[in-house]
């Protein structure tokens, strides 16, 4: 697997792609990579520093940890703190600040909060602990949804009465539409999230290309994947075209994974969803469908009427919409660091603020090289 990956990190091919992008670029372009995984790859590999200065990458709202609404985080904290509950979550949700605390804090106060690597592990926990209530924090885009759907499906098949999910799934196409509808938007092309399209296909994006006359390129995550996505987007922009292109054909087909889509359609239904820092986007999320409503943790635990309080300093909403670069935020690196995050974008390694803080704080490092003698 790792050897295979090396092919998509080849420095010579990367250099050729950089050269080609540089050659074809005649004026400034703003391209949004939708997915946090791509933001991570761009910053981690230093791709943004090596692009011609005309190309601006705008980091999109595609970090599921970052856009999970504060209200949902507070509900998670409340459920996790209840006696008898085993609260299961992906690792990077634990440090996301709620109104007052985070899951780590609740854990240190005695709650049974566990990091799981798959929602199916939470189902196993529920089977092994019939006297406990096991709750899984089901967040994420279309990518993580099939496994979460499978967990509920299995729980239903097994007749588990002590398993439930706190669901806050979000969908990419409505977010792209919302960004294009915003009068402040500067985005001229999108790199669509390859893994989301692996599940959902890319037919959903074709109407967006039409309606907003914006190039959308389905793009992978390795350095060469990202560069190829950028190259194709720039090529379209320079020619004044707006087409849907698939630059990730080794993983993505137009129709996507139809078996997964069938399962998703059974378990989930579309709903309006609030995105942290952005606001409510119509029909931009999934909740459990009528058939699986018994597994809804929000209904099982009384967690309505939560009053939330965002940090007044945090401007993660503007960052998520691509209106503000993380290091342009007055709190960046001062009041707000990965140690003391004010907003979720500073927590997850896929969050734009955390990625900037970890990898990009010192721009002058560009000139530094390791001597050839080494």
């Amino acid at each position: 697997m790792v050897k295979y990956l090396d092919e998509f990190r080849n420095p010579e091919i990367a250099q050729r792609l950089f050269d080609e992008i540089r050659r074809m670029t005649t004026r400034p372009w703003a391209i949004m990579e939708v997915c946090g995984g791509q933001t991570h790859s761009i910053i981690r590999n230093g791709i943004d520093q090596l692009l011609p200065p005309e190309i601006e990458l705008i980091h999109g709202p595609g970090c599921p940890v970052c856009v999970t609404p504060l209200e949902t985080i507070d509900k998670a904290l409340k459920i996790a703190a209840q006696p008898g509950v085993i609260f299961c979550s992906f690792g990077d949700m634990l440090r996301v600040p709620g109104s007052e605390k985070d899951l780590f804090r609740v854990k240190s106060e005695g709650a049974d909060v566990r990091i799981v690597y798959s929602p199916l592990d939470a189902v196993k926990l529920a089977q092994a602990n019939p006297e406990r209530e096991v709750v899984f924090f089901a967040i994420g885009f279309e990518t993580t949804a099939p496994a979460n759907a499978m967990a509920v499906y299995q729980a239903k098949q097994l007749g588990l009465r002590n398993f439930s999910m706190l669901v806050s799934h979000v969908l990419v196409p409505p977010a792209i539409a919302a960004i294009m509808e915003s009068p402040a938007t500067r985005v001229q092309a999108f790199l669509a999230a390859g893994h989301v399209c692996t599940v959902m296909g890319y037919w959903e994006y074709e109407p967006l290309v039409e309606r907003y006359h914006v190039p959308i390129v389905v793009t992978g995550f390795e350095p060469l994947d990202v560069l190829e996505g950028i190259r194709r987007a720039v090529a379209q922009l320079e020619k004044g075209e707006a087409r849907l292109e698939n630059a990730y054909p080794r993983a993505v087909r137009r129709e996507g994974n139809t078996a997964a889509q069938k399962m998703l359609a059974d378990v989930f239904e579309v709903t309006d969803r609030a995105w942290r820092g952005i606001g409510v986007i119509p029909r931009s999320g999934w909740r459990l469908s009528e058939r699986y409503r018994d597994f809804d943790a929000e209904a099982r635990f009384a967690v309505a009427n939560i009053r939330t309080q965002e940090s007044p300093l945090c401007r993660s909403g503007e960052v998520l919409q691509g209106l503000l670069k993380p290091n342009q935020c007055p709190a960046f690196g001062k009041e707000c660091t990965p140690r003391t995050p004010l907003g979720a974008t500073m927590v997850s390694s896929e969050g734009a603020c955390a990625a900037y803080y970890q990898y990009g704080r010192f721009v002058q490092v560009e000139e530094t090289t390791v001597a050839p003698s080494v």
Binding site: K3, N45, I115, F362, Q364
Partner: protein, 352 residues
């Protein structure tokens, strides 16, 4: 690996009173405590200083400067592929001393036992400590045992402290890193952390991964015999290589630049990191060191390391620079660069 440990094979040299498990009385200072010392600890660690069973060990040290260190071990699970908490506790302190250029000589061991721990399990841990001490050429000369109520500990916690003498003319500390120096890592990184993760979470990453837990004093001795131009030694344990390089950069007010492509990352560690969204430079090692060496002596030191079994895969990964003091920079595989900061708290697996 863990299944292969047979606790029933361990037998007490003189049978302890009929307690197969640790009870509160083993920490009470009475007969049970004494039996634990006489029949379990003393026979395993046997040496003149310990056998005197005084309130303190009386030691003779050759002249020179003394290095003195302590470390506590709270690893879960107690037994993992490539080692256990006992081996870790001895090698951890041995390595801390060796990183100052000292020759480790004497260790103490403090045990906090949880009520209900199998005495046979403790026996295996203690035997492993004795074996690790022999391998490192150190003696465990004093100890202490306390017992806590069931549910108040993870079986065993061990604290070790140790002393060693620093040879004349050796001055190794993080502050001595200077621009131009070369950064060497002694072998493959990330093995201990991934080994622990794989058993703790029941994950598999292709080939089974064993901890690299090992005493580094022999390797350090070989390096010092080859050159005295070694400015810094550091073992990248918790926080991994990234934490160690950051500590050096901050202590010496220098920059560190390394090339990602030169890092010795074994395939299983690379696979684990890909799967979990982690970075090998943040993963713990227990038998590796980072050396900062004057450039003209770098090849000599590297050769000496490669001749030692624990340094066979040693590699030059980067250098110390006057630019960006206090900051560690990685040159990425495709020619970009990025800042490598210390991580905050634990490294968390990413969602997707």
């Amino acid at each position: 690996m863990i299944e292969s440990i047979d606790f029933t094979a361990w037998s007490c040299p003189l049978p302890l009173r009929s307690y197969p498990t640790i009870v509160m009385g083993h920490g009470g200072g009475g007969k049970l405590s004494a039996e634990l010392v006489e029949h379990l600890f003393a026979p395993a660690f046997r040496n003149a200083a310990l056998d005197a069973l005084g309130d303190a060990a009386v030691l003779t040290l050759e002249g020179g400067r003394l290095a003195y260190s302590t470390d506590s071990f709270v690893v879960r699970p107690l037994f993992f592929p490539g080692g256990n908490i006992g081996k870790l506790a001895v090698n951890g302190t041995v390595n801390d001393l060796a990183m100052m250029g000292a020759k480790p000589q004497y260790l103490t061991a403090g045990f906090i036992l949880e009520e209900g721990l199998l005495v046979s399990q403790l026996g295996v841990i203690v035997e492993e400590m004795a074996a690790a001490a022999r391998a490192a050429g150190v003696q465990i000369v004093a100890g202490d045992t306390k017992v806590v109520d069931k549910g108040h500990g993870d079986g065993v916690y061990i604290n070790t402290s140790g002393v060693g003498v620093i040879p004349e003319g050796v001055d190794i500390r993080p502050q001595r890193a200077q621009p131009g120096d070369v950064v060497i890592v002694s072998g493959e990184i990330g093995l201990h952390g991934v080994a622990i993760l794989s058993v703790r979470e029941g994950l598999e990453f292709g080939a089974p991964v064993e901890s690299d837990c090992a005493p580094l004093n022999g390797l350090v001795e070989a390096m010092l015999a080859a050159s005295r131009a070694i400015h810094v030694l550091r073992d990248p344990t918790r926080g991994g290589l990234a934490a160690t390089l950051n500590e050096i950069a901050r202590a010496a007010r220098v920059g560190v630049v390394y090339e990602e492509r030169r890092l010795p990352v074994p395939p299983a560690v690379a696979a684990a990191c890909e799967m979990l969204g982690m970075d090998p430079v943040y993963i713990a090692n227990e038998g590796k060191l980072v050396a900062v060496v004057a450039p003209e002596e770098a090849e000599v030191v590297l050769e000496a390391m490669r001749r030692h079994p624990l340094g066979a895969k040693a590699a030059i990964i980067g250098r110390i620079t006057a630019e960006h003091p206090g900051v560690v920079v990685a040159r990425t595989g495709i020619g970009g660069s990025r800042v490598v900061d210390m991580q905050v708290g634990e490294q968390l697996p990413r969602i997707c």
